[in-house]
Structure formats: C-alpha cells, structure tokens
Symmetry: C4
Subunit: 240 residues, 4 copies
C-alpha cells in the first residue's frame, strides 16, 4: 500500500490544471502539494510531459529535499518548493510556471503595480520582484538560493496576504493554504500581469490603486469580516 | 414547486456563457436575469465555480436586495445589480466581468473612444468610465455606491443606447433588455476594448469615428427604421 | 426540389469556418458563395447566430441584389457583396469579418505595409485601405457605396493579385476565385495584420519588404511558373 | 512494402503538432524527419491542408533533394531542409513555421535578445536573425540560398547549442537531434518571442540576461552535468 497516493493524486490534479489553463507550454512548470501533518510534499517529476504523468510518478519529499517515496527524479525546482514549505508551514501548495505575461514582468525586473480590483482581490499590494541573483549564489546551490531570494523579498509582508512573487529574469512562484489555491493564484497572476501591461499601454502614467480601494477589495475577500464566497469555505480562509 | 426555476435556469445559462466566451477566469464575474413582471432577479452565488453551478443554487432577490428564494449567498456585487434594476425597470439582465481588455481601460480610467463600426453597432458613443470612488463612499455601502456611480455616469444618455460602462479601477458592467443581450454586450465590449487598444498602437492620433457614420451604424441596427437582423426579433428591440 | 441547395450548402460551410477560425464573435461577419454559371450568390442571413444556420436559410440573390430564392432577410452587407460580383465576375466568393487585428488597422485608417513573406504569399503589395466615406454617400445607399469605395480603392491593381481590402473605420473584405479561398484570405489577413502590428512594436522604423522578395514569394505561389502546392490545384489558379 | 512508412509516420506526427500547438495557420509551415542511417528525410507535401495528410503522402528525399520515395510534390521549402541535413548530419528534424511572434521579430530583422531563463533553457545566447537576402541570391535558387543564409548565420556557434534561427523578413526555422525536439524548439521559440516583445513593452531598456545565469540554465538542461529531466532521456542528449 502506498501511503502517499492521495497526496500524489492531489498534486497531479493541480499539475494538470496548469496546461489546461494555458499557463504552461511543454514541460516548463510544476506544482506541489504539501501534507502539513506529515511534513512531506509531492511534486511533478522533472521533464516529464504533463499528458504522461501518473500519480505514482510524483516523488514525495520532506522539507530538507530528501525523497521519502517515489521513483522519478523530482523537478529541478524542487529545492525552492522545499525551502518555502520549511519557512512557511501554514501553506499547502506551491506553483511555478513560465506563463508569458508574468514572465515578461519578471524579465523586465519590475514588480507589478496594483492598478485595480482584480489585483486587489488576490494580493494586498504590488506583486514583488526579487533582485537578479548574485553570481556567487548562482554558482552555489542555485535552486535553494532561488527560495532564499523569495523569502528575502517577502520579508516584512505576510506571505498569506501576498501569495505571489516574480523571480527576476525567471518567472512567477505562487502559493496558498491549499495546493488548489496556489494554482488559482498562478491563474490570477497571469491575468493581472496581462491587464497591467495593457493598462500602461493605454495610459503610461496610470497611478497605483488608491489604498482605500485596495484594502476594501482585499478585506471583503480575505479579511476577518470577509463577505465574498459561501460562508463555510471562504470566511475562515484568509489566503484566497 | 419552485416558481423561479425558469428564471434561475435562464440566469444560469447566461452565467455559463461567460467562461465559454473567454470573458471570465476563475470565479470573477456574474450575470443576473430579471423577471419584469414579478420584479425579481436571479444571480450567480458568490465564489462558486461556474462548472459547479446548478439552477437551484442561484438566489432570487427583489430590487431592494432582499432574498425571496434560494439558499446560496448571492454574488457580492448583487447590490449593484439590484440598484440598476430598480432604476431601469425596462432592462432584463446585468453582467459584470473582469475581461482583460475592458479591465485595462477601466484601470487606465479612460472611456473607450468610438473608433469604428464594431463599436457603433453596439453603443451610441464612447463607452463611459466612472470617476474613481471617493473614500467615504468606499467606506459606506460599497456595492450600492458602485451602482450609484454607474447611474451618475449614465445621467444624460439613454441606458438603452449606451448599454455598457467601465467602473474605474474595477471593470465593466453591461445590461440589456434581456439577460442574453446583456451577455452579448459584454462579449462585444471586450472585442471593442481590444480593437481600440490596437488601433491606438497603430496610430496614436486616431480620431473618433465621425458622427454621421456612428449614427448610420447605430441606427441601422437599433433605430426606428433598423434593417439589421430578421424583422421579428430585431426591429422592435432597440437595445441591441 | 431546391436548385440552389448545393450553393447554399457551400456558402454555409464557408460561413461556419469564420467562428471556427476565431475571426468572428457573435454575428458580426458574413460569407457568400457565387455561382458563376447562373450569376447568383448565396449569403448569410442577417443577425442569425452561426450555430443556428441551416443551408436553406441562406437567401440566394442576383448581382442586382434581387432575391431569387430563400426566405430569410440577407445580411445587411449584401449590397456590397452584390456589387463586387457584378464588377468582378471571375470571383467566386466574398467574406466580411470584424476580426480584431484587421479592424484595428481599418480603424487606424492605414494600409498594412508588406513586411514579410507571409504577406507576400497572399497579396502582391500593401493591403489597401479605403478613405473614410463622405457624408453624402453615408446618407445614400450606404452598403452599395461601401462596395463602390472598394472598387475605387482597387482601381489600378488586379483584384486577383490583391484579394483583400480594409474599409476605413469598419473592417476587412476579402474575395477569391472560390468561396473557400475568400475564407482562406480572411484568415491570412488577420494573421498578417497581427504580425504587422507586432513588427512595428519591435522596430517602429521597419522598412517595407523589398520588391524582389515580394515578387519572388507572390510569384512562386501565384505566378505563371508557380511551384507551390500540388500541380493540379494550384499552378492554374492565380488567386491564392 | 513501403520501407519508409515509419519515417513518414513520424514526420506526419510532427507536422500535426504544428497546428495543434497554434503555430500554424492554413498550410504555412512544414516539418521533416531525418533517418540518419539511410541519409533520407520525409517532409510535408506542398500546399496540402494538415487535416488531409496521410503518412504515405509525405515524400522521402535524400540530402541532394532527390525524391527516393513518394508521390506528392514536397514543400517548396524542401531544399532548405535538405541543405541543413547535409551540413549537419547529427540533427534529426527541421521545422519551419510562420508563428506570429517569431515572424514579427524576423520581419523586424532583429535577433531576439536573451532576457530570461525560458530562453536560456532552450538556446545558448540570442536567437540570431539572418541578413535580408541579396537580390542575386533571390533570383537564383531561392530555397537553397535560404539554407545557405542559415548556415552562414550559424557559423561560429554550435548548431546543437543554438537550435533556432530567424530568416529575415520570412520566419523561423528550428532543428534538433530528433524531429520531436525540432517541434519542441518551434513551440519554445514562439513563447520566447512573445515574452521578449512584452518585456520590451514593459521596460524598453531591459538588459540582456547576465552570462552567469544564461550558462547556469543552459547547462543544467543541456551541459555535461545536466540534472534536468529523467536521467535516461536527457543527460545524454545535449540538444534540448
């Protein structure tokens, strides 16, 4: 009996939403699902086409990156996922994609300014962008350093209020209290990134959304008195 | 026996057209259908994925926002819909989306200039954009105030000639004499918004469409002597 | 027995390719198929959703615009089609769409410069754009005047070498020796229009394709010594 | 017995991925598969719709362009493919498309600068662009000259490290150690081209990716110590 099959199946379903949502071309993206009780996560194996994936193929690892179950080599981005789970044990999923509009902002090395309520519904402020990685860190343990950059960039904000980040010259990472919400956040981020570019194309001097409207929309969905969604599923979960 | 099932089913069908037309990602959008005889409307419940919706889930409310039938919590934008139905009893449907090009214009806080006949076929003039909401109104009854802003912005034009508006920093609302036409208008608006951006990218100084051509196209489809469409369905209905 | 059913069926199939190719949203577009022997054409009826069309619904008209068979009111753009068939009896189909990139160029009132071989494979030079219509012509027989503008704009070039035009502030019309080729040309035009916009976004000073390369590509596909395609179908048909 | 059916079938499958991936509209594109043992390749026939293709229709040729099997006329771009196979016997497939973003860069006659890791995962440096072809070469054996331009442009770099090129005013060619990888590279190139345009739209002064990060990503996927993918399929194959 495989004790991780449910976790692997859940991670598989999240991975399959990535190409289905148009976020992923080829094999460039990966989702993982974390089991908070057991402190392990299942992640996409490296370089395997999404259409070929089976639940059993997804390796299960602990937060130090040690394989505890499963035969295929994990995604090369695995150490980044592991570091985030170790730092933030209250999250349940991490997603990395190369979705085109989010990558364009990452390549331009610019945070995405909050311009409207679509953004404010999902993220309490600008979507941050890391600095380009220093050469000595690239030469070191690159994927762990990517995770460290994300943590450094998120320092000072709540990772449950800002659930998405751009890694400079690379692409987006998102997370959430569940793996499904981490995928939702990747989908929302790509849409936000597209809207922000078009907004600047229409009016290059567009100001940031004013704070009162940002707070109103973020709070009505994620605050203590949230009234978006059905009571059972949303008001108790501040991450989405 | 549920006396509202036909209304709920019609509203459901309209809601399902939103993701099918590419206007809606995730749960960000909602359509409602109004029963003019009974003065009630059915609307999407809040935060429920479109693929999970059943007709019975759609709450039915009166124009004061009081639930008259149905168990799920209505869309958080419900009070905006209610206010429009109260103000304009000759409309039959309201739609709100976060479609990307229309949102980009809303975030840029710019009305969409009429540049061509695709626009003129659907809207008798520029597509207006509200002002950003004042802080005291945001702190008040936000969704009712959104409706008031729409009504203020439409003051002085016929809501049957201009069936679409951009709420600044937020996104589009459309309406029509039937809920199906409200959806048609959301689809047309997104296309118009995309075309207008590309037009300005090709020629930033493009002038507005001249009045004679605007009137010609709007009138051939919506005027008293309209000759677009089949006689039975179109010439008597000025809203589309 | 309906003597026009084959013509109607062929016109229907061409119309159905328009939404299937992403060229048409809602009901904004129409294709017609011309029977050169009998001098009549079948065209989409006005305002009918594409998914509801049946072959029998497509009215059959002569080149003066007189209905010779069929019950539904023809597309409001019918007189434009009729005029083109009258002027150019060697064409077999006409298509009009509101595809977004082609419309953007039409709204910007700019011909599409030939920048590359995709364009040169389909059109022997820039894709022309009419002038905006004068007010007295708008007030007259508008759809006939649209056809006259197209003929005026094509004066001096072969309508078999340039099979596409932009009507200013409105959108594209294309044609071909067969109705299927007229649809192919609408599909190619939308792609060419998108590529041309992106080309200028990358390098605003991009020069027109040099004449030698324009001729090479147009001739290898459409010239007397064409060697593109299979011999039976292409080398004898200069229109595609 | 047809000794080339397996090769033809493999080439057919690669051709069919082109419209399925959105890279090809109409008939504008072609893939070929090379049999290194026998020194022959199968290629799409000219001007045949993808949906009508059967494996037997794909002509089989040697690297001088002589047909060794098959009845339909090969793609007009066949001599370009042949020249690449003759020059680079270690490749197994060549693909040519008119995908819109890659064509836009080709029409702008600009190499695509490496801005991020999506690019670095696939190509060790900028994606080169040929010079526009001289008139005497256009007047000569045009498709052979296209191949020569590609070889000239690739002089000085490894064709296994840079597996894609833009032919000025025309469009992209890609290749790989297998025909499937050549298709993968065409898909990746279109995404890279789109991302690069949007990057410049967000920040026109975006610098090239720094060399340390370019090498890190290219090497982790294609270098001697590559650790991307599953060991059996990737670490031994430097082309993808």
């Amino acid at each position: 009996m495989n004790p991780y099959l449910e976790l692997q199946s859940r991670a598989l379903a999240c991975n399959l939403r990535l190409p289905a949502s148009g976020l992923v071309t080829g094999t460039f993206g990966n989702a993982s699902a974390f089991d908070r009780q057991r402190g392990v996560f299942a992640i996409k194996p490296s370089g395997v086409p999404f259409s070929d994936l089976k639940a059993e193929d997804l390796p299960v690892l602990d937060v130090t990156g040690k394989v505890v179950y499963g035969g295929l080599r994990p995604s090369s981005d695995m150490p980044t996922h592991a570091l985030l789970y170790e730092a933030w044990p209250d999250i349940g999923g991490v997603v990395h994609t190369h979705s085109p509009y989010a990558v364009a902002w990452a390549q331009a090395m610019r945070p995405i300014p909050v311009f409207g309520t679509t953004h404010a519904d999902h993220c309490d402020g600008d979507i941050p962008c890391t600095a380009p990685m220093a050469d000595d860190r690239i030469a070191g343990n690159y994927e762990v350093e990517t995770g460290r950059q994300i943590l450094d960039t998120l320092a000072g904000v709540s990772h449950l209020d800002v659930t998405m980040v751009l890694v400079a010259c690379h692409g987006p990472f998102t997370w959430g209290t569940t793996p499904e919400k981490a995928v939702d956040n990747s989908i929302a981020l790509e849409l936000i990134a597209q809207m922000a570019l078009h907004t600047l194309q229409i009016a290059p001097q567009t100001p940031r959304l004013k704070e009162s409207l940002l707070k109103k929309h973020f709070e009505r969905k994620h605050g203590p008195d949230a009234y978006y969604g059905q009571a059972s599923s949303t008001s108790k979960d501040p991450s989405r």
